[in-house]
């Protein structure tokens, strides 16, 4: 019990650091793809320290300040509900659907905070994010339902348990189409190109973040760092069979890496196109996968 609580306290910090390193690696890898040298892999940690050291940043009100706080809190709670590296904390108390809803707390809190900023760019960013969400959530749910039906359970631990015993038992093989659909959805969930419309810096001045600077932005970076782990972690747990702590992070980085490669070479969709894209091809792939699962 004490070990669990210590782990619960330690794990978010570990995940934040690892997540920031993921982001740094992402910049490095993107730079290498661009034939650049790129920043050091710990660049994002420096960024966060700098952001927290900044003073006198604009504050539009209580909700504006609470937005990033809730964003971090929401992500941390989601983190505690997914099993990381065979170390389940609270995932016995909630299943995939609970997690899907817990995942929403963070963006919702942030969206409310952004709203008080009274910057139309922020609102447009949120509107785009929500539209995109309507797009990918359908795909994600189609895939998740397939997994739940295949496993006969919505509990993460049960799903991971069924995938034990080597690569061949991973759900990615029987549920390949669902995994593919989830991976396409993941591209938008992670906010990578071609689905980074919500924060398109060239169109709407980084959208939701437009009014956030200093420590607020730092918290949003932390939020993003956890989000990457959580979101890739869902994929790892659903399709790649979890794994021990190191393996788990390796798998999760592999998932992230795929998204990164696509991100590095892609332009950006128009938001309408992105929405339409999700409701056509990935949804169709996922539905075919779902039907296959339902039949067999």
């Amino acid at each position: 019990m004490t070990g669990q609580i210590l782990w619960a306290i330690f794990m978010p910090i570990l995940v934040i650091i690892i997540g920031l390193i993921y982001m740094g690696l992402a910049r490095k890898i993107t730079a290498r793809i661009h034939n650049r040298y790129g920043p050091p892999f710990y660049q994002n940690i420096i960024d966060v320290i700098k952001l927290f050291s900044k003073k006198d940043v604009a504050n539009h009100g209580v909700m504006f300040s609470l937005g990033p706080v809730i964003a971090v809190a929401g992500m941390v709670i989601s983190l505690l509900f997914i099993p990381i590296g065979n170390r389940p904390l609270l995932s016995f108390n909630g299943d995939i659907i609970v997690l899907l809803y817990l995942l929403v707390i963070a963006p919702l809190g942030m969206a409310l905070g952004v709203g008080e900023g009274a910057n139309p760019n922020g609102a447009i960013g949120i509107a785009r994010a929500l539209t995109l969400m309507l797009g990918y959530e359908v795909v994600l749910v189609i895939a998740a339902v397939a997994v739940m039906i295949h496993a006969g359970s919505a509990s993460f631990m049960e799903i991971i348990r069924q995938q034990q015993g080597g690569v061949a038992h991973w759900f990615i093989w029987p549920l390949f189409l669902s995994a593919l659909a989830t991976d396409i959805a993941l591209q938008a969930i992670l906010g990578e190109k071609p689905f980074d419309q919500p924060i398109a810096p060239h169109e709407i001045a980084s959208g939701p973040m437009v009014e956030y600077g200093g420590k607020f932005l730092g918290m949003l970076q932390i939020y993003h760092a956890i989000a990457i782990i959580v979101e890739t972690g869902i994929f790892v747990n659903l399709f790649l069979g979890g794994g021990s702590l190191v393996w788990w992070f390796v798998k999760s980085f592999a998932v992230f890496f795929v998204a990164l490669l696509i991100n590095a070479v892609m332009p950006r969709f128009r938001i309408g196109q992105a929405f339409k894209f999700y409701w056509t091809y990935p949804a169709a792939i996922g539905l075919v996968g779902l039907i296959i699962v339902a039949i067999t």
Binding site: F52, K54, D56, V57, A58, N59, H60, G61, M63, S65, P68, V69, A71, V72, A73, L80, L90, N93, G94, D95, I97, V98, Y101, L102, V104, I105, L108, L112, G115, E116, G117, A118, N119, P120, N121, A123, I124, A127, L130, T131, M133, L134, V138, V141, V145, M148, I149, S153, A154, A205, V210, E211, K215, G218, M219, R270, G272, F275, L287, A294
Partner: protein, 617 residues
């Protein structure tokens, strides 16, 4: 009781009747007296309601009343939310005594509707409940209100006609007007008639429950009815339709295999159809809610969508599904009442519900904003509020029962909730404050106090869903339905997974503390004026940059093919056609020409002769 030798049922009726009449008569003398009288009436009624004996029958016209767990649940919702809404009405002294009269009558009819145990009493109370709503929507008049009220009454008549027809079939086939007699006798009914009766009943109740395609009156009626009353209309009165559907679907049909219909995924096809209708309602209405420009209409479509969830839960028909649907009925009643009351407060202060004209009210009405967030969290189904366990149960039931495609629709609908809910709260409370609303004040005490009253159960049942589950289990037991029994005060367990509400709540607060810690680590901030935003260096004149209109335009553009599907077009066509025929009848048949009339008479005689010739005498 009270030293009066009266049956509590009679006493309850007397309280409502006298309360209504007294409120109407004395309401003319004082602006606030009518509301206080209403509150007293409702308080007395609640007291009596909680002490009702099991059965009561009125000799003639022979009406039978009684109370069971289901009526108790819906009755408590009705009376509780009715009292809260009445409390909020303290801030609306300008409403006429007529309104209060109708309001009390309406609540009384609703309560007796829930208590009725025979068809005639049920239908009587149903009709009374229906037309008092019409009177309240019509209220002060105005062209739009008139149109909305007319539309409502016509739809209500259609619903009532279905119900009446089904009741008549049931009564004819079972030779009984009492529920118990019908339930006992229904298995002997010819299967075709049985299906027809249940289908008609569900269709009839669907009108009040705002299920597609019987929903078209809802946005208009909600938009035009008096603002605090809309909360009651959406929160409680739509639940009476749900109550009816429950009776029709479970009490009448669940006890036997419905005409040996083929089963799909373990559910008979009737339930499957119901689930599809519910899912399509939830999905379609939520997509339409996204593109509304008026906040009341937005919430109205949202109501339709949420009611679709409930029907979906009923359609699944498993133990979890029923519990989820009932739970969602309760949670929708609570949060939608809250949201509509908030909107009522906003409209009271600003005079508009057009979202493009609002904005930035968080600075002026922080309390309303907080409770709008509370209501929104419940609407969106965020854990810790009552909205989550109810939605979660429905999902679990759907996946467990194999309703895969409908589950996807339902999920899409609940994602759309975030879209329209954010639009609602952003356009009203966030963003830029409109120049006209610079000196708007917080809503008056009665209104914000009613927010608090509603928020308590929202959180309480959100953290301790077991309390509600207990009641649902008892209801299921009472009607011999499968019941969810695997729950404790905070945890619900289904075959698929489990959910511990309290732990989620506690962990959230821990995480929140972590977030706050981060907040306090960072450097100090500077409070800036709301116009001090980054606009590519542009200056901060009070410019209207509120992003409140056509919020999801890019989405609307993509969804255009879906929006083009509208059942309203069919109704429009029917209405146009009827008008055409009506004009033909009026101008063509009743032409005012005496020769023509004589000509008709001659033809009539000829027809009669031929008709009678054909009949075997």
């Amino acid at each position: 009781m009270f030293g009066i030798n009266m049956n509590p049922y009679e006493l309850l009726a007397a309280v409502f009747g006298l309360g209504a009449i007294l409120t109407y008569l004395l309401g003319h003398f004082d602006r606030h007296l009518k509301t206080w009288l209403t509150l007293i009436t409702l308080a007395l009624a609640t007291y009596i309601f909680l002490h009702l004996p099991n059965e009561y029958s009125l000799e003639s016209p022979s009406l039978l009343f009684g109370i069971d767990k289901l009526s108790w649940l819906f009755g408590i919702l009705t009376l509780g939310l009715g009292t809260i809404v009445a409390f909020a009405l303290l801030a609306y002294p300008e409403l006429s005594p007529n309104f209060y009269f109708m309001f009390i009558l309406n609540i009384g009819a609703s309560i007796f509707l829930l208590l009725s145990r025979d068809l005639v009493a049920f239908f009587l109370m149903w009709e009374l409940m229906s037309w008092t709503i019409f009177a309240m929507i019509l209220g002060d008049g105005g062209a739009e209100r008139g149109r909305a009220a007319t539309k409502y009454l016509v739809w209500s008549a259609i619903g009532a006609a279905f119900i009446l027809f089904a009741f008549a079939i049931l009564a004819k086939s079972t030779n009984s007007f009492e529920w118990s007699g019908i339930v006992a006798g229904i298995s002997q009914m010819p299967s075709g008639w049985r299906v027809a009766a249940i289908a008609l009943l569900i269709a009839g109740f669907a009108v009040k429950a705002a299920i597609m395609p019987m929903h078209t009156w809802v946005p208009d009626a909600y938009a035009e009815s008096p603002h605090p009353f809309t909360a009651f209309l959406s929160g409680v009165l739509s639940k009476l339709g749900i109550y009816g559907i429950f009776l029709a679907f479970f009490v009448l049909s669940a006890r036997f295999e419905l005409v040996n219909m083929p089963k799909i995924f373990g559910t008979h096809i009737f339930g499957y159809i119901l689930a599809w209708i519910g899912a399509l309602t939830a999905f379609g209405a939520s997509l339409i809610a996204i593109k509304q420009e008026h906040a009341k209409r937005l919430l109205a479509w949202s109501s339709i969508s949420q009611l679709g969830y409930i029907l979906f839960g009923f359609g699944i028909g498993s133990a979890i599904g029923i519990a989820g649907a009932l739970f969602h009925a309760v949670s929708h009643a609570l949060f939608k009442t809250l949201l509509f009351l908030i909107l009522a407060g906003v409209i009271k202060r600003t005079g508009t519900d057009r979202m493009a004209e609002l904005g930035g009210l968080i600075k002026k009405m922080p309390l309303s904003f907080i409770f709008a967030v509370v209501g929104g969290l419940a609407l969106a189904g965020i854990p810790m509020t009552i909205g989550f366990p109810s939605k979660w149960l429905i999902y679990e039931a759907a996946i467990h029962q194999g309703f895969i495609f409908t589950t996807v629709l339902i999920f899409a609908a609940s994602t759309a909730v975030f879209l329209y809910y954010y639009r609602f709260v952003f356009s009203i409370f966030l963003g830029e404050l409109h120049a006209n609303h610079q000196d708007v004040k917080e809503v008056p005490f009665p209104i914000w106090f009613s927010y608090i009253l509603i928020s308590i159960p929202i959180f309480w049942l959100g953290l301790f869903p077991g309390k509600a589950m207990q009641i649902f289990a008892e209801i299921a037991e009472q009607f011999d339905l499968p019941a969810v029994t695997n729950f404790t005060a905070t945890t619900i367990t289904t075959p698929l997974g489990s959910f511990n509400a309290l732990i989620v709540g506690l962990v959230f607060f821990a995480s929140f503390a972590f977030g706050l810690l981060l907040y306090f680590i960072g450097g100090r901030t500077r409070k800036v004026h709301q116009y001090d935003t980054f606009l590519a260096g542009e200056a901060d004149e009070p410019v209207k940059l509120h992003y409140g209109q056509r919020f999801f335009y890019f989405l609307e553009r993509e969804l255009k093919p879906l929006y083009r599907i509208s059942v309203e077009k069919i109704y429009q066509f029917v209405a146009e056609f009827t008008r055409f025929v009506a004009d033909q009848v009026r101008k063509g048949f009743f032409c005012g020409n005496a020769q023509a009339y004589l000509y008709y008479m001659t033809i009539f005689i000829v027809i009669l002769v031929f008709a009678i010739w054909r009949i075997k005498l």
